[in-house]
């Protein structure tokens, strides 16, 4: 039945209508907004006969199979009842709101959100899939958040909306957990599958958890004690919202859920206990508190809580008749409470106040409205001949048939009567205090009757109160029957919807409640005085305090962890490494020797001593920075020598040339950093750091030792075999760099190039100044460019270039290559900068270094891409030998072009880094030269 999908889609589309008709007149806009829900109502009515004939309609469309989430709708009696409530009251609210909203209020926003809410609500009641139900469930929370805070400039509206969202959001998450558990236990989320598996679920060990989770969802949504407090604070919403969401529909979603899940979850003692006690408590608390509200809407809100408690209690009583009574009361409550809210809205709208201490004697000003409101509140009080009376009688009857509390079962009817008494009292107050009780006090304006059509919705609803009260079977009989049977998931019990059941105990209870209620109200002064002495709780303030406390706590803990101290973060990091490494290390135990070790010789011993001493010296004199630099250079030198010693000349070359550039860099850095600093760490910290550093050293050292002792079963033979034949070079390391793993090299030069760009960025608009003297206050030497240095460095330039070329070409077959060649060139040029100054070099060298970098990387990449022309993968190398006349054989290889790219990138990047850094104190500061 695709119509079911339309039922949800129509109001969804309808939420756009008010936005589109924003420019229309208010009435037309309201009318346009009403069209689609009206169409939806027509669809429901068209489908209703099928439901009345006992059918259940389904529509299913797959959505997310992995989740078991499908678009799955069902229309049965219960859904029908709720859909009708939602659509009918919704339409009335649209009409009502047209007059209620001020000219300054955005109708588009209001109607848009309202339609969204209607969609969500219809989605809930029509869902056949629990996950889908949850989806719409959360949507009601969201749209209600937006509606409560409709007047967002008011702090209480914002706060109230957030509170409602927080509480119902919490319940929603619990519900989700419950639903997912149901899915896990029963293997489906489809209601028609689930509803028949009640016994499986209730036997399952997870049943109590599921039940509690689902109930949390239902109770929070339906404002059951102790989650009730959000509802009164949601009253800062515009009254149409209160009438619609907070009396007729949304708060009923929780009740609906209980009814929907009734066949699946109900029947156990736990259900009875939880639902009954919650319902009963809510009923009493709500009724009691309602009595003391001075705010008209506050009274109605607590009354709503109380009635929701009543319905919950009925569902908890767990007899079929109680369930019927619950469904019946859902209908009745929706009707009379919506009309009461609307009446309250009219009073507020026309008198400018909702304070019952100011509102008095309105009867004279708005007799029609007063009459309507009085009828509705009489219905709320359970006065005979009105609909409220009927369901209350059924309720009383059911409370009498309980024996679940054992010897204490008598408590239930007694408490029910007490609640009814309170309900009569607050209803009496609503009538007497507002419409009679003297003259109004200090109202902002003189009240009068509302616009004609604003009253129409109230009139319709009140008429329904009376009609249902007089002819229940005729008006709602069928609906109640199908809805109840759907909720029960089985045959209906025997019940009669007549006005008169004779003089019986429920009637006595009603009479008692009436009498006592009136008495209570007339003696309210004592009660009010007593209540005034109790400490007043402002839930909104409390909520804000709690949130504030939560945020403060979070902040405190957050700061405890995130101290913005790098040293702590690093310490964490090293600690974790050590902790994680200890596991495998400790398993390793004794080092086992698999390969013959090389014999120790004196030279290596000396090198080790030098390295160790220099390393420790670096640590010890790290505060005398220049010294530390010298020491670390020594370490670097020893590392170079170790590479030579163990047959890695390429590494030695690279390490050495990088070393030189690094030293120059660090020197430059030193210029801008403090040269000496005093001790900053205390002894404890030094010991701690020393300990962790030592452990790291031992761990890494041991690992390297174990690694070196492992037998070699490497992939390297392949490289040795193929270097010459496949890569065209004798130097296997170089062939790996430019061929076997040329892609790494491409990445590596890219890194270098990016670093150069990044450094350029760092230097852009860097606020530096050159100090006029060094750290000891000594004036700088006057000789900027020592002559001897100038002469020698320019003599070295061609030599260095020549060596670069040599190293470059030789690289493929012997140690060397583009990278080292590039560094040599760059160092030679940097030497010119040092010896002659920036201006001198700049006059002679008009290269944009970033272009050089880009060109370099581009050449390497294009060399790699050239292999596509031969339908080979990127970077497939090519080489061949050519016989040249006289000169003999020469080798040409794509690797040379690749290496040329490397060379250019290295030259460009190194110069871009060093020269720009060097330039910082000259006129040629890197500025923002159009390069972004």
């Amino acid at each position: 039945m695709i119509e079911l999908l339309f039922l949800v889609l129509l109001p969804l589309i309808g939420s756009v209508v008010p936005v589109l008709t924003k420019s229309w007149s208010r009435s037309y806009s309201a009318l346009a907004t009403a069209i689609l829900p009206a169409a939806a109502l027509a669809v429901v009515l068209q489908l209703a006969p099928a439901i009345f004939s006992g059918e259940t309609l389904f529509y299913q469309m797959p959505w997310v199979e992995a989740l078991g989430l499908s678009l799955s709708f069902r229309l049965d009696g219960l859904s029908l009842l709720f859909a009708l409530l939602i659509l009918c009251i919704g339409l009335l609210v649209i009409l009502y709101a047209r007059y209620y909203l001020a000219v300054t209020d955005s109708m588009a926003r209001f109607y848009g959100f309202l339609m969204l809410f209607m969609t969500a609500m219809l989605g809930i009641v029509l869902s056949n899939n629990l996950l889908q139900l949850w989806l719409f469930w959360e949507l009601t929370s969201i749209s209600s958040f937006l509606l409560i805070s409709f007047w967002w400039h008011r702090a209480d509206a914002r706060s109230g909306a957030r509170m409602a969202l927080t509480i119902t959001g919490f319940g929603g998450l619990a519900l989700l957990a419950g639903i997912l558990l149901i899915g896990q236990v029963l293997g489906s989320f489809e209601l028609d599958v689930l509803l028949s598996k009640a016994d499986v679920l209730q036997q399952h060990s997870l049943y109590p958890v599921i039940l509690i989770l689902v109930l949390l969802g239902a109770f929070t949504k339906s404002a059951q004690f102790p989650f009730h407090f959000w509802l009164p604070n949601a009253m800062s919403a515009p009254t149409p919202v209160s009438a619609y969401l907070h009396s007729a529909t949304m708060v009923k979603a929780g009740i609906f859920l209980l009814a929907r899940m009734y066949p699946l979850l109900a029947g156990s003692d736990l259900w009875f206990l939880l639902v009954t006690i919650t319902g009963m408590t809510t009923l009493l608390v709500g009724a009691y508190l309602a009595l003391f509200q001075h705010d008209l809407k506050g009274l109605l809100a607590y009354s709503t809580i109380s009635h929701l408690g009543l319905i919950t209690l009925l569902l908890g009583l767990d007899t079929d008749l109680a369930t019927v009574a619950a469904i019946f009361h859902i209908i009745n409550h929706a009707i009379f409470k919506a009309s009461l809210f609307m009446a309250a809205g009219i009073i507020d709208h026309e008198s400018g106040s909702r304070d019952m201490r100011k509102l008095n004697g309105l009867w004279q000003f708005m007799p029609v409205t007063a009459t309507l409101a009085m009828v509705a509140s009489a219905s709320m009080a359970g006065v005979p001949l009105l609909n409220g009376f009927l369901s209350k009688e059924m309720f009383f009857a059911e409370t009498l048939h309980q024996d679940v509390l054992g010897a204490l079962s008598w408590l239930i009817p007694v408490l029910a009567t007490v609640a009814a008494t309170l309900s009569v009292a607050y209803s009496a107050r609503f009538i007497h205090d507002v419409f009679f009780n003297g003259q109004p006090k200090g109202l902002p304006r003189t009240p009068h009757e509302p616009p004609r059509y604003m009253r129409v919705p109230v009139e319709i609803l009140v008429a329904l109160c009376i009609l249902v009260g007089l002819a229940p079977q005729y008006i709602v009989g069928d609906l109640l029957a199908v809805a109840s049977s759907a909720a029960l998931g089985g045959p209906l019990p025997q019940y009669s919807l007549s006005i008169w059941h004779g003089v019986n105990l429920p009637l006595l209870m009603s009479v008692m409640a009436m009498t006592l209620g009136i008495l209570l109200y007339s003696n309210r002064k004592h009660l009010f005085r007593f209540q005034a002495e109790l400490p007043e709780l402002n839930p909104l303030q409390l909520f804000e305090q709690k949130i504030k406390a939560l945020l403060n706590n979070a902040q405190r803990w957050h700061q405890r962890f995130e101290s913005a101290e790098l040293q702590r973060y690093l310490l964490w990091m090293f600690l974790i490494v050590v902790v994680l490494l200890i596991w495998p290390l400790q398993q390793m135990g004794q080092f086992t020797r698999h390969t013959a070790m090389l014999p120790i010789d004196a030279l290596m011993l000396a090198a080790m001593l030098v390295a160790i001493i220099a390393a420790f010296a670096t640590v010890l004199c790290q505060r005398q920075r220049l010294l530390a630099l010298v020491m670390i250079s020594i370490v670097g030198l020893v590392v170079t020598l170790i590479f030579v010693r163990f047959s890695a000349p390429d590494l030695a070359l690279t390490q050495l040339s990088v070393e030189v550039v690094t030293i120059v860099l660090l020197m430059l850095a030193l210029f801008f950093l403090p040269h000496k600093i005093s001790r900053a760490s205390n002894a404890g910290r030094l010991i701690r750091d020393g300990a962790i550093a030592s452990v790291c050293g031992v761990v890494i050292g041991s690992l390297s030792y174990a690694m070196m002792l492992e037998p070699q079963q490497r992939i390297s033979d392949f490289f040795l075999i193929n270097a010459k034949t496949g890569g065209g070079g004798y130097n296997v390391v170089n062939v790996i760099l430019v061929d076997f793993r040329g892609f790494d090299t491409l990445g590596e030069i890219t890194v270098l190039g990016i670093a150069a760009l990044g450094i350029f960025k760092l230097l852009t608009r860097l606020p530096l100044f050159k100090p006029s003297s060094d750290a000891e206050g000594r004036q700088w030497a006057l000789d900027k460019h020592p002559m001897l240095l100038a002469v020698v460095s320019q003599a070295l330039l061609p030599l260095a270039l020549l060596v670069s070329v040599y190293i470059f070409f030789r690289g493929h077959n012997l140690p060397g290559g583009g990278f080292v060649a590039g560094l040599i060139t760059a160092i030679a040029i940097i030497l010119q900068y040092v010896a002659q100054g920036v201006d001198w070099v700049k006059q002679r060298l008009t290269l944009e270094y970033h272009r050089l970098v880009a060109a370099g990387v581009l050449i390497s990449s294009l060399t790699g891409a050239a292999s596509w022309l031969f339908e080979r993968p990127f970077l497939t190398s090519w080489f061949d030998y050519f016989q040249l006349p006289l000169l003999g054989e020469i080798e040409l290889a794509s690797a040379i072009a690749f290496d040329l790219g490397v060379y250019l990138t290295v030259v460009g990047s190194t110069l871009m880094i060093l020269a720009n850094l060097g330039k910082m104190t000259t006129d040629h500061r890197p500025v923002h030269e159009g390069q972004n």
Binding site: A781, L782, D783, K784, H785, P786, M787, L788, A790, V791, V792, Q794, L797, P798, L799, L801, L802, V803, V805, Y806, Q832, Q843, R844, L845, L884, L886, L887, G888, I890
Partner: protein, 169 residues
């Protein structure tokens, strides 16, 4: 302008580079000769702008002789220095000495200073005056490890090294 000066600015340097190229490659194979020539021509051309204005070598023969003499002096100097180093520190007579210069050319002065540094017990500390960049240098400041007679030393530097250099350039 297609003059030789533009296309082959520094023949001596080119020759030098050519030799270095052969040394680097450790070979006189035809291909190395070819590339040596190519580079010896290209590189000076490429960095022509970086060259400081210098006089050419007038007497290559004298330059060779100067070089050999310096080599010899280095050997002798080192033997003397070793004796001084191993002897007691008290016997040392270190001194700062200024040598007045007749040379004006930067390259020549640099070579003189380098020579002095490479040879017996002397290190060129500075070229004076220090201030005023671009001013003509007049003195060479030396540090001497063991100074017997200041005048003799000055004379030796001027005669043995400065004089031939004046000839060469």
């Amino acid at each position: 302008m297609l003059s030789l000066k533009n296309w082959w600015p520094t023949p001596v340097r080119s020759l030098f580079l050519f030799l270095v190229w052969l040394l680097l490659n450790n070979s006189v194979a035809l291909i190395h000769l070819f590339f040596g020539l190519l580079l010896a021509w290209l590189i000076p051309l490429l960095i022509h702008k970086f060259r400081l204005i210098q006089p050419g070598i007038k007497k290559p023969g004298a330059a060779m002789a100067y070089g050999l003499m310096v080599m010899w002096d280095i050997v002798i100097a080192n033997l003397q220095v070793i004796r001084l180093v191993l002897g007691p520190n008290k016997k040392l007579r270190p001194a700062f000495v200024t040598v007045p210069l007749d040379l004006t050319d930067h390259l020549a002065i640099t070579i003189l200073a380098s020579t002095v540094s490479l040879t017996p017990g002397t290190v060129s500390a500075d070229v004076l005056p220090l201030n005023a960049e671009g001013a003509e240098p007049r003195f060479l400041l030396l540090h001497v490890l063991d100074l017997a007679d200041e005048a003799e030393l000055i004379e030796q530097v001027k005669q043995r090294y400065e004089a031939p250099l004046k000839e060469i350039f």
